[in-house]
């Protein structure tokens, strides 16, 4: 029973049925604990005052926004190579969730920018990169919606995802190159894990990251199951018309 067997739609529906509620539960638990702990029990940071509490939303969301696109890239490659419908539908299911995570990262980043930089939106390389990532998500979702035939849509969006990934990384460094002259970014840690933060804030942050991760996983599983059912409806009605 190779792992590819698990991505056969029927088997996928069977083994994910019990998993989804559990994942949602664990996600709620982790997020709840992390946010409550971070919001109520951590002291004010010297430099940022209480705005440091926004870190528990901004960093996990930003982390998931990038990981979501990476997951879609892997799923697209699996679809192109192994032609497994579930991975293509999982990529389609993950896009809106990734986009929402990007919006959360942008909103919390901008709000956090107010006390730190004095204005809501500053063309900081990190925030700008997330705005670009948001545009990529928009284009990806729009392409899925624009094409009727599911398999053609899966193929075209996979190519767009691969090309988009290269350009997203390119834009990431282009923005850093372009912005150096204007405004030095804050020392606020970048979205990836390598962070220098004192441990009193660290544990709740890890909890929030786990929470957001589980939430993302739960949402993707739920939405993938919905996509599989929608595809089954389309298949059944098509067969009914043919008969």
């Amino acid at each position: 029973m190779s792992i590819w067997e698990y991505s056969n739609p029927k088997k996928f529906m069977d083994w994910t049925a019990p998993v989804v509620p559990w994942t949602f539960g664990l996600a709620a638990l982790a997020c709840g604990a992390g946010l409550v702990w971070g919001f109520f029990l951590t002291p004010e940071a010297d430099k940022f005052g209480s705005t440091v509490k926004i870190i528990y939303l901004h960093v996990p969301a930003a982390l998931m926004a990038i990981n979501a696109w990476f997951m879609m890239l892997v799923a697209s490659l699996i679809w192109v190579i192994r032609r497994h419908h579930v991975s293509a539908l999982a990529a389609r299911a993950a896009a809106p969730v990734g986009m929402v995570m990007t919006v959360i990262a942008l909103v919390t980043g901008a709000i956090w920018g107010m006390p730190t930089w004095g204005t809501y939106w500053v063309w900081d390389p990190r925030l700008t990169s997330f705005m670009i990532l948001f545009l990529f998500y928009l284009g990806y979702i729009a392409l899925w919606e624009a094409i009727e035939d599911p398999d053609t849509a899966a193929d075209l969006t996979s190519v767009l995802c691969v090309v988009g990934s290269v350009f997203a990384i390119l834009s990431r460094y282009a923005v850093r190159f372009w912005n150096q002259g204007l405004h030095q970014g804050t020392s606020v840690p970048v979205a990836t894990g390598g962070r220098t933060v004192s441990d009193v804030y660290f544990v709740p942050l890890v909890l929030c990251m786990v929470g957001f991760g589980l939430l993302f996983l739960a949402l993707v599983l739920l939405r993938t199951r919905t996509e599989i059912r929608a595809r089954r409806i389309r298949a059944l009605t098509a067969r009914a018309h043919r008969a």
């Binding site: 739609p9 035939d149 389309r234 059944l236």
Partner: protein
């Protein structure tokens, strides 16, 4: 020269035909018959390699096939000669002088393709087939909007020039071309409603 073995093909992810097998020796043609929508175009596109078959295989010499339908890629803003010259250069072959005579295009040589009648445009499309010089032709309703005289002209070209020089062709058409070529009615090869291999198979 061209062999199809147990071919199954789909249109829009839905299986349309299955179990189609035939083989053509040089100089032979095959006429595809069957009601509209049975899958003549789908079969031709699969044979030409424009779309992958669900099952079975198609074998003919690499780079000798050409697909042509009534949408024959004629540019209205170019003259008849320029259109033919373009396709000749794409296949890096010369434009044979005889082609203008063979398809009654001699006096239309420098006319813009946009100013031609439907029948003349079709003759230009068929002349293109001669110019590209491909041995294995897959033709989808080549004689649509052609008058009787032009149909005979095309049939004569097909019989004497194309097949005569050892080419072969699979032609989907409703009218009788007068070629002594076997017919293949596709109706018995229509895929069963629950045929496998369709894009939706994993979800049913």
């Amino acid at each position: 020269m061209l062999r199809a073995t147990d071919l199954a093909c789909a249109r829009g992810g839905v299986p349309v035909l299955e179990g189609v097998s035939f083989s053509l020796a040089p100089g032979e043609a095959l006429i595809l018959r069957g009601p509209n929508g049975v899958g003549k175009t789908t079969l031709l596109r699969t044979l030409a390699g424009l779309q992958p078959p669900i099952a079975g295989s198609v074998d003919f010499a690499e780079g000798t096939g050409a697909y042509a339908s009534h949408a024959d890629g004629i540019k209205a803003a170019l003259t008849v000669t320029e259109n033919l010259a373009f396709w000749a250069r794409i296949h890096d072959r010369p434009v044979p002088e005889a082609v203008f005579g063979a398809f009654d295009l001699s006096d239309l040589r420098d006319r813009l393709a946009g100013t031609l009648s439907a029948g003349q445009k079709r003759r230009l499309g068929l002349a293109r087939l001669e110019v590209i010089g491909r041995a294995v032709l897959f033709l989808d309703e080549p004689t649509v909007s052609l008058d009787a005289f032009s149909v005979k002209m095309f049939a004569r070209w097909m019989r004497e020039v194309h097949l005569g020089q050892g080419g072969c062709a699979v032609i989907a058409t409703h009218i009788d071309l007068g070629l002594d070529a076997p017919d293949l009615n596709l109706s018995p090869f229509v895929a069963a409603p629950d045929a496998g291999g369709g894009a939706d198979e994993a979800f049913l």
